[in-house]
Symmetry: C2
Subunit: 238 residues, 2 copies
């Protein structure tokens, strides 16, 4: 048979949740354990933990494609995604389904979207939503987030202080992600807006080393990338 008659494989963007392997969906688990090829981003500084979350589900006969990402945000990630997409495309063209592991949900601030933008027009692509660490944090904190007419805003701590202040000022509830070395800035904005006493703090939600502590006791230079600050709605209808 000529090569171009080979049925192409399907690309799966697999949301695998915030860290607890039991928070995979039944669907993500089914696809993960049935595809011949698994791809996932890797980074030396520990900002990527996708493979670790599902390590117990991966079988030795599955082909793995680690996709290294640049450590520094200053370095362009474009060639890294080009290379990863090319490796994935080879398997898809040969008829093998490929699942790309995505921490949390694939469509939110995720590396999968760069693969999606490179391949979704050439191969059948399906995105499996996953539990986002944002909402998982609310569950772990026991903090109802939004009621009725509330507006919820999700924003990265990497924003400059002015933008953070403006966006937080009009949100009924907010989740600030990717804290890391930006904690001091976030704290000062929250204090300025009178939100600091309402704010909750959590590190590595749903992972074995999850930590919840009063935000006032957080040491700004000890905050990991995987920390979240949450401001639940004050609306408390009975």
């Amino acid at each position: 048979m000529p090569e171009d008659s080979t049925p192409k494989g399907s690309l799966y963007g697999l949301g695998i949740g915030p860290g607890d392997p039991e928070l995979l969906t039944i669907k993500a688990h089914r696809i993960l354990t049935s595809v011949p090829v698994i791809a996932y981003p890797t980074m030396e500084n520990g900002k990527v933990l996708a493979r670790a979350i599902v390590a117990d589900f991966i079988r030795p006969e599955q082909i793995e494609i680690p996709m290294p990402l640049p450590f520094s945000v200053e370095r362009s990630s474009q060639p890294y995604y080009d290379l990863g997409a090319e490796k994935i495309a080879e398997h898809l063209a040969a008829g093998r389904d490929v699942a790309v592991l995505c921490e949390g949900d694939p469509m939110l601030y995720g590396s999968f979207m760069y693969i999606f933008n490179r391949l979704a027009d050439r191969f059948h692509t399906e995105v499996i939503p996953g539990i986002s660490s944002t909402f998982a944090s609310a569950a772990m904190l026991g903090a109802p987030l939004t009621y009725r007419n509330d507006v919820l805003s999700i924003m990265p701590a990497t924003l400059d202080a002015d933008t953070l202040r403006d966006r937080l000022a009009v949100a009924d509830a907010a989740i600030i992600i990717k804290l890391g070395r930006h904690f001091a800035k976030v704290k000062s904005v929250l204090e300025e807006l009178g939100l600091f006493d309402r704010a909750l703090y959590i590190e590595r939600a749903t992972l074995p080393n999850q930590t919840i502590k009063p935000i006032a006791s957080v040491e700004p230079d000890q905050v990991p990338y995987w920390a979240i600050v949450m401001i639940p709605s004050e609306t408390k209808p009975s």
Copy 2:
């Protein structure tokens, strides 16, 4: 033994996702199939479909507590939640674990939070995050939502036009939920902000009768409550 030495049951707020039963997490499925008592809201107008999502997982020997909610938003739901919480508390006090079914995620705009606020201080309570229809819609639409420094805002269509306009104007990406009879208002605000051409429309994401259509072709008087409008980020880094 005196009655008060009976070990109390645990209360589970169980996120069961947007509609596809395969989008339950492994954890939610485990708890759902092992608790002796299951509670869920019911409403005659079809705005509640929690039990239908997991119908195939429920066993005949499990005790079910339907919790009726008022049809009209004008009627106070307080006595309904009081009654539901009281029924749940009886089982917990008798040592039986109770799982409350929550469409999507329990901490977002959900009826579970009213049960949580009534019982979490008296009984051991665990919240299991679920796939929210907001992010599931992005997956079904194949629409990457947010990159890098983007701010995402989630808001109900029930807001007045001025508030909708102000919140949308400062969001990099937005999800508007609970559309129903509010579609015409939302459409006019989106047109005013020049966002209408970017907006995507989906009904009943992940359910068998899911419908995706161009937003320009939507008939305002045919929009169900379970419809979502999404404005993905314009940030498209390579």
